[in-house]
Symmetry: C2
Subunit: 412 residues, 2 copies
C-alpha cells in the first residue's frame, strides 16, 4: 500500500523530485497571472493594464486577414510566413529607427508577446544563482519570470525621475571594491514605468548605459508603454544611447494594437540576437504577424495609435482629477506623462493588501504595492490603471478607494 | 586601444562570458531552423514537413474572425480572451478524450505551437547535466531544443514497430544495477514518427509506460501527426495507458489547420501542469485561439481534417509508388500509416550529406539523416516529405534522387 500525503491544496508532491531546482523553490507560490484573482465581479476594476475594449481594431484586422490571404495564398499560413510577415519586421525596425536607434531588420526578433521576449532574453543569459538588478517597484510579471530561472533579484529605488541610477552605481562600486560579484543583467522599464508611471531622465539614461559597459552587464530595456506618450517630448531609448551592444530591448503590440495579437519583439546587437534567436526555438504566429504586417503598413495603424494617445491622455487626466477630488490629503500619487498607471502611496500605517477586501466591498479593486517588489516593501502602496474602465466607473472606483482608505486611516 | 578579434563568421565573442553555459556550449553551432538553408530554389523540395498550400482554410479563418469579433467585441482581443478561446481548450480536451485519455479542460495548457509546448516542459524538468532519452532518429527541432538546456541526449534505436523499448529497459536495468543515474525524461513521437513514419506498437506502449513508473522518469509524448492516420486503426496514446501522471503530451494545430496559426498544447496531470503553466509565463494568442475555437466548434474543422487524411493518403501512396519506380534495389524505405514522412536508407557507402549538392543539381532536396541523430549515426539515411509538393513534382524529385543515388553508388 502506497501512502500519498496530500496537502491542503491538493499538492501530492509526487513529481517534485523531478522538477528543476527553480521549480521546486517556487512550489506553493502562485504563478504568472495569479494576480488576476484579485478582481471582484461587482467592483470597479482599476487592477490591470487592459486596453479599453473600444480601442480594438476588429474590422481592420479582419480586412487585413482578407487582404493577406488574397495576396499570399501559399505562404501566409505556411512555416516562415510570407512578405507581410517580413514587412512586420521591417516596420518594427523602421519605427525603432525613428526613435533614434541605429538598427535594421537584422536586429529584430519577433516573439509571442513582450513576456515571451523577456523570457528568451532570460533563457540566453540567466542561470540559477545569477543576479538581476531591477527597479523596485517593477512589473510583477517580470519578477515571476526571473523566479523561473532561480536568480536573485535586487531592487533599487525609483523616484520621480525613475530608477535611482546613482544608487545602482554606488552598489556596483562598493561590490567591485569588496571583490563581490556584480549582476549579469539589469532589467528596467525606463519610460512610463509599470507600476509607477515615471520616466527615467535623459541624464540617468546616459549614466546607466555607461555603467553597463563599465561594469560588464546587459541592460534589458522593456519599452511596452513607450509609444503612448501624452505630454512632453520623447526621450531617447537606452538602446539609442548605447554604443556597446549591451542594451537589449523588448517591446509589444499589446498596448498599440491589442493584447490578443500576442506579438512582440526583441531588438538587439546582431551577434547577441543570434544567440537569443537560437534560444527562442520554434516558430512564431505568421497568421497574426501577416495581419499585423498589413495593418501596420497599409492599414490605419499610425492613425489609430494617435487616437489611442488622445483617448488615454483624457483617461489619465480624469484619473488624476478623481484622485484630487476624492482622496484624503495624506495620500500621494504619481503624475505620468504616458502609459497606463498611477502609483498611489498611502500613509505608512495602511496595508494595501489588508485594505483590498474592504475596498472591494466599497466597490473597487487595485493591485497591492507589494506585488511589485522583490522584497517586502511597498505595503502602503498600490497601482491604479486608468486604461480600461469608463470615466464614470473610474470616478466610482476612486471614490470607493478613498472611502476605504479613510476608514483604514481612522483605524476602523 | 581595444582589440576585438573577429572570427571568420563575424563572431567577436564580446558577450560570450555573459551567456549561460548551455549557450556558450552551442556557440558556432547552427540554431533551430538552420536546416531551412538546405532548400535550393530550382530543385523540388522534399525536405520539410510543410502542409500543401491548398490545404489552408483561408476563408474559414476569415469567417471565424468575423464571427468571433461580432460575438465577443470586448473580450476576444483582450488579455485572457473570451468564450471562444475557452472553447478551444474544451475542444482539445474533448478530442483527447475521444483518443481514450481521461482528461478535462483542467489538463490542457494552450501554447504557441508544439515546439513551445515541448520547450515549457523542458523548462519545468531539465537542468544542465540532466539526461534525456530519445528515439534515434528523432525530430531535429527537439534535439536543438534539448541542447538549449545543456542536457545529455541518449538515442535508442527505432525499428518497424517504433522505439526499441526493450533496449531502453535493458539500459535502465543495467544502470540501476551499476548504481548509475537514470534519465529524468524520455522524449518520443510514438505515432507516425518524425522522421521515420513508424508507429510504436501497442505492446511497446504499455511497456514504456510501465518503465516510466518503475524507473521514475517522465515521458514526453509528442503527437504532432497523430490525427493524420491513413491506414489501420488508432492505437491508444501513451497518455491513455498511463495511470501515474508521468506522461506529458504535446500537440499542435500546425498539421490539422496550418503552421501559421502557431497554436499547440500541453496535456498532463493537473498537479504537474500547474508547474508547467508557471514556467510558461506570459499569455498566448487569444486572437488566433478564438478564431480556432470558432473554427473547431462551429466551422468545418472535422470535415477538413477528414479531407486532409484523404489527400495525404494519396500523396503517401504516390510517394511510395515513385520510390518503387525510380530507386535502385539497394535502397530501402519505410511505409508509414500516417504523418508526412518516409525514411530512406541507402547503402552504407553513400553519405547523404555529401550527396545533397549532387541531388540538388539533379533537381531535388531532402534532409540528410544525420540531422535527426544525437550522435553521428544516420549518414546513409535521409528523410523525404510527401506533404508539400504536387504529385508531378514528387515524381521529378524522386527520379532526381534516384539518379543521384545511382551515380554515388557507382562511385562517380
Amino acid at each position: 500500500v502506497e501512502v500519498v500525503v496530500v496537502s491542503d491544496d491538493g499538492h501530492t508532491g509526487a513529481f517534485d523530485h523531478l522538477f528543476t531546482a527553480a521549480v521546486r523553490d517556487g512550489l506553493g507560490e502562485e504563478g504568472y497571472g495569479s494576480w488576476r484573482s484579485i478582481d471582484e465581479p461587482d467592483a470597479v476594476s482599476l487592477s490591470f493594464g487592459f486596453p479599453y475594449p473600444e480601442s480594438f481594431p476588429h474590422e481592420e484586422l479582419v480586412a487585413a486577414a482578407e487582404a493577406v490571404f488574397e495576396a499570399e495564398h501559399d505562404t501566409a499560413l505556411q512555416y516562415g510566413g510570407g512578405d507581410y510577415a517580413d514587412r512586420l519586421v521591417e516596420t518594427v525596425a523602421e519605427r525603432e529607427r525613428r526613435r533614434g536607434i541605429d538598427c535594421g531588420p537584422e536586429n529584430v526578433l519577433l516573439t509571442n508577446g513582450a513576456t515571451h521576449a523577456i523570457d528568451v532574453v532570460c533563457h540566453t543569459f540567466l542561470e540559477r544563482g545569477d543576479e538581476v538588478f531591477v527597479e523596485a517597484p517593477t512589473f510583477m510579471g517580470s519578477l515571476k519570470l526571473f523566479g523561473n530561472y532561480g536568480v536573485e533579484v535586487t531592487g533599487f529605488e525609483n523616484d520621480a525621475d525613475g530608477l535611482r541610477v546613482d544608487a545602482v552605481a554606488a552598489e556596483l562600486e562598493r561590490r567591485e571594491d569588496a571583490g563581490e560579484a556584480t549582476p549579469k543583467l539589469l532589467y528596467t522599464i525606463p519610460t512610463f514605468q509599470n507600476p509607477t508611471g515615471t520616466t527615467l531622465s535623459r541624464e540617468r539614461r546616459e549614466r546607466l548605459v555607461e555603467l553597463a559597459e563599465a561594469h560588464d552587464f546587459v541592460v534589458l530595456e522593456d519599452d511596452a508603454y513607450g509609444a503612448l506618450r501624452y505630454d512632453g517630448a520623447d526621450l531617447p531609448p537606452l538602446a539609442a544611447l548605447d554604443g556597446s551592444g549591451r542594451v537589449v530591448r523588448t517591446n509589444t503590440f499589446s498596448k498599440t494594437v491589442a493584447p490578443g495579437v500576442r506579438s512582440g519583439w526583441v531588438l538587439g546587437d546582431e551577434e547577441l540576437l543570434e544567440e537569443v534567436t537560437r534560444m527562442r526555438a520554434g516558430g512564431t504566429n505568421t497568421f497574426t504577424q501577416s495581419v499585423l504586417g498589413y495593418y501596420c503598413t497599409e492599414g490605419p495603424f499610425e492613425e489609430n495609435v494617435a487616437e489611442l494617445r488622445t483617448r488615454y491622455a483624457e483617461r489619465r487626466d480624469h484619473m488624476l482629477d478623481c484622485l484630487e477630488e476624492h482622496m484624503p490629503p495624506a495620500a500621494e500619487w504619481t503624475e505620468p506623462d504616458g502609459g497606463f498607471f498611477v502609483w498611489v502611496t498611502l500613509p505608512e500605517a495602511v496595508d494595501t493588501e489588508e485594505l483590498l477586501p474592504r475596498a472591494a466591498e466599497e466597490g473597487v479593486t487595485y493591485l497591492p504595492g507589494e506585488l511589485f517588489f522583490p522584497d517586502d516593501r511597498g505595503r502602503n502602496c498600490l497601482r491604479l490603471s486608468f486604461s480600461h474602465v469608463s470615466p464614470g466607473e473610474m470616478d466610482r472606483g476612486v471614490a470607493a478607494l478613498a472611502r476605504a482608505t479613510r476608514s483604514a486611516m481612522a483605524g476602523d
